[in-house]
Amino acid sequence: MSSIQWQFPRALEDEAIYILRETAAQFERPAILFSGGKDSITLVRLAQKAFYPGKIPFPLLHVDTGHNFPETIEFRDWLVETLGLELIVRNVQDSINQGKAKEETGKYASRNALQTVTLLDAIEELKFDACIGGARRDEEKARAKERIFSVRDEFGQWNSKIQRPELFDHLNGKVNIGENVRVFPISNWTELDVWNYIREEGLAIPSIYFSHERKIIERDGMYWPYSDFLNTTEDEKPFPAKVRFRTVGDMTCTAAVMSEADKLEDIITEILAAKISERGARIDDKRSEAAMEKRKNAGYF
């Protein structure tokens, strides 16, 4: 643990805090996109530090697919309560009921892509001009091209060909009416940085990140959490196993890994030795080579 690889590079925290303060100063109504995953938990911590002893000047926005892990929701409510935060929840189910989004069918059905509809509606309804997200450039190759202040048009679309140059510390948050900005304060962090930060800061995280027993099915070489939301076929029989989640999305798009790691130290050791990338466990990314870019173009974060 004395090894350099176990140390969080503090320069990244200074940078993220700088970005959050710029966001508070340059925009009228920013919100933190909060999923209950480790990256958004990190964002909340950074915001807490950026404005201390003042309160976090943004509400949290959770786009609830209805397919969350119950442990994540439990954690979300606990965090909001403990830190005295403002939480706004908007439901994908409502978008489906209003006929704005359509449930996918088949055994790969997921509400991941549907979130975009609900998110864009929420931005319009609540008049958010900046949404702060926990996306990192190391996660995925389209995200590697993202800006820190990423301008989206009226339809929430990302246009990778006309991105604003970002130089030195200068962040240009000026937008035209109808446009809004996605802000990514931890752009330059890696998965390992996030875990080292959580460990050094002593942050609480949902229990599903640690090893636990759960019913799973095996499909396409991945372990899928078994739940009512997952459409299974006859021969996909659930069985119990010791697993944990490396990344937390919906129950229908996040694969588990076999693991005995029940402490942060063990998780970090596992990541340092991992042969599979973090998003390798994201079923939503496996749809095509450009799955992420296509979702981003449509307004996903």
């Binding site: 690889q5 590079p9 950026a50 990778s160 060909k161 030195f168 200068h170 240009n172 990338s277």
Partner: protein, 414 residues
């Protein structure tokens, strides 16, 4: 753990993306699933080898055309430090991306194709490295396998490059030249027998030993106020803290400060980082400063120490790089962004444009995308910038178009 930021630049097809892929592959930073995806994608393209460049060309349009269009940020770490590479496109029309990638870099890595030697793009990249005064410069002579690992060829290019260095920012600095083959991973992470005449380190070993540049700390103290924290809670009723990131120099508790533009003085009561009380804050640290006296300070003010107060200028001469499709218009008003300040600025004069490949100065009446030149700006309020040469952290600005809101230029104050 420290972070070394590198910018890579090269010309079309000189193997830049392959070099980065190689750095990742040989440091075991590519995971099995990403490698499998690469192999499959290479096969689909009809290649009989795994094309490592597919790793960095993240956009559909880039993979279609086999070129890098936009800056990509790549991350890897060794047991020694964390690396961030800003991979910038080698195409002529994307100079603005090169400047962008270079703006935060500590190391500029220039790639040269051993068969072609110095080409037009090399001059461009070198010019940008000099203009930004990037502390370290590494020149990798790539594709040595295609010139039979010929020492004479390497020496020739080395000599040609020495001519460029004469009279430049790098004249008295150590510039590293390394013969490599990124395709075969020779002298990238590991040394190769095939280039036994090269006695020095391979690229990664050299990068591992680079000392982080901390000259920002020695420069005059500058603290742009980003945000005022006033909790107004029972517990912190009278708290009034000034949040910001120290641009350069250091600030100490008890020391006197001057707030610009109004020139009011006070003493630092405390420097805080969350629940921690600090004695001092240094360049690049994000902190909150409280003062002994109630003086009027808001976002956009600059705190400095009385030993070195920058002059407020309403007329700025600066070298700028133009980054927008729409040309610069003399007489037009833009928004100048410097620190936390947004100030109206009018382009008073366009002095000249530099032809970066020849270093020749040309009289011109207009400036377009990717042009670099010198202008005079007249500003509505005084700007408390330092000359870029003297204090880079307080010597740059961007110009924003008031109508499109686009970032149209970056400037380096004279």
């Amino acid at each position: 753990m420290d972070v070394l930021r590198i910018t890579t630049s090269g010309s079309v097809d000189d193997g830049k993306s392959t070099l980065i892929g190689r750095l990742l592959f040989d440091t075991k930073s590519i995971t099995q699933d990403k490698m499998e995806a690469l192999t499959a994608a290479s096969k689909r393209k009809g290649l009989d080898f795994t094309d490592l460049s597919l790793l960095t060309d993240g956009l559909i349009a880039e993979r279609e055309q086999g070129i890098t269009i936009d800056v990509a940020h790549i991350y890897f770490s060794t047991p020694n430090r964390k690396y961030i590479i800003a991979d910038t496109p080698g195409h002529f029309e994307y100079t603005r991306n090169m400047v962008t990638g270079a703006s935060t870099a500590q190391v500029s890595l220039i790639l040269i194709d051993a068969r072609k030697g110095i080409v037009e793009q090399t001059y461009r990249h070198f010019f940008i490295a000099c203009m930004l005064r990037i502390p370290h410069l590494v020149v990798c002579i790539n594709k040595m396998d295609l010139v039979e690992y010929d020492e004479a060829r390497f020496n020739q290019i080395h000599e040609d490059f020495q001519q460029l260095l004469k009279g430049s920012f790098y004249e008295d600095k150590e510039v590293k030249f390394i013969p490599i083959s990124s395709l075969y991973g020779e002298n990238v992470v590991t040394k190769t027998e095939k280039i036994s005449w090269y006695k020095s380190q391979p690229l990664l070993e050299f990068l591992e030993e680079i000392e982080l540049d901390t000259t920002d700390r020695q420069h005059p103290a500058r603290f742009p106020v980003q945000y005022v924290i006033r909790p107004k809670t029972e517990q912190h009723h009278d708290f009034r803290g000034f949040a910001g990131k120290v641009a350069s120099g250091s600030f100490h508790v008890g020391a006197e400060i001057v707030s610009l533009p109004n020139g009011q003085r006070s003493k630092i009561k405390s420097i805080e980082k969350f629940e921690q009380q600090l004695d001092a804050a240094h360049a690049t640290e994000s902190v909150v400063i409280t003062l002994e006296d109630e003086i009027d300070i808001s976002r956009g003010n600059l705190l400095v120490t009385p030993d070195n107060i920058p002059e407020g200028r309403k007329e700025l001469v600066a070298q700028i790089c133009w980054m927008d499709q729409q040309k610069l218009s003399a007489g037009k008003t833009y928004l100048l962004v410097h620190g936390a300040n947004r100030i109206k600025a009018k382009v008073q004069q366009l002095h000249h444009v530099v032809e970066v490949t020849t270093n020749r100065i040309e009289e011109k009446t207009e400036m377009g995308l990717n042009d670099i030149g010198k202008i005079t700006l007249k500003t509505a309020q005084p700007v408390f910038a330092d000359a870029y040469q003297a204090n880079p952290a307080n010597g740059t600005f961007i110009l924003v178009d008031e109508f499109s809101n686009a970032t149209v230029a970056v400037g380096f104050v004279d």
